[in-house]
Symmetry: C2
Subunit: 95 residues, 2 copies
């Protein structure tokens, strides 16, 4: 798997966006910890929120609890820093 595929192709409109994506997957042995992913979810989200300001409606969370594998996906659209905003506006004007 090419990790770059996580975000798909980068279009020019994507330049004005900043995103963070987390995929956490747990493959259990028989009788292994059933809900490790759920346990880790809140704490990892707390760590992220310490470093970036996250708007609740810009966060997509998916949780897939299969028989042997649990997978958590977190996709966060981050507010642009003012410097990035300026650059994006400049680019728009130039286009």
């Amino acid at each position: 798997m090419t990790l770059r595929n996580l975000f798909g192709k980068r279009s020019s409109s994507a330049v004005a966006r900043e995103r963070l994506q987390l995929i956490l997957a747990h493959e259990r042995a028989e009788n292994g910890r059933p809900d490790l992913v759920i346990t880790l979810r809140e704490e990892i989200l707390e760590v992220i929120a310490k470093h970036v300001s996250v708007e609740r409606d810009k966060v997509k969370i998916t949780l897939d609890r299969g028989e042997g594998v649990s997978t958590l996906g977190v996709d966060i659209e981050l507010p642009l820093s003012s410097a990035a905003k300026l650059a994006a506006e400049k680019e728009k004007k130039a286009a």
Copy 2:
């Protein structure tokens, strides 16, 4: 992308294994935070270590810092819980 592909196909030998995989990707806008992924790496690893005992030599970390996207991959093979060990041994004997 099928998230289940993260671990590839589940072979019978995989039953005796327990793994945790984390992929963290950051797509930067121009002039966005350059090293958010690196900032988050240590803290997320600390969160994981609080919940599972992680052996240093069973952890694979990859960091790919592309021009617009930084990606962190962490692949942890977890020590089997005693219950899981028993089940794995039982399965071996039965095979």
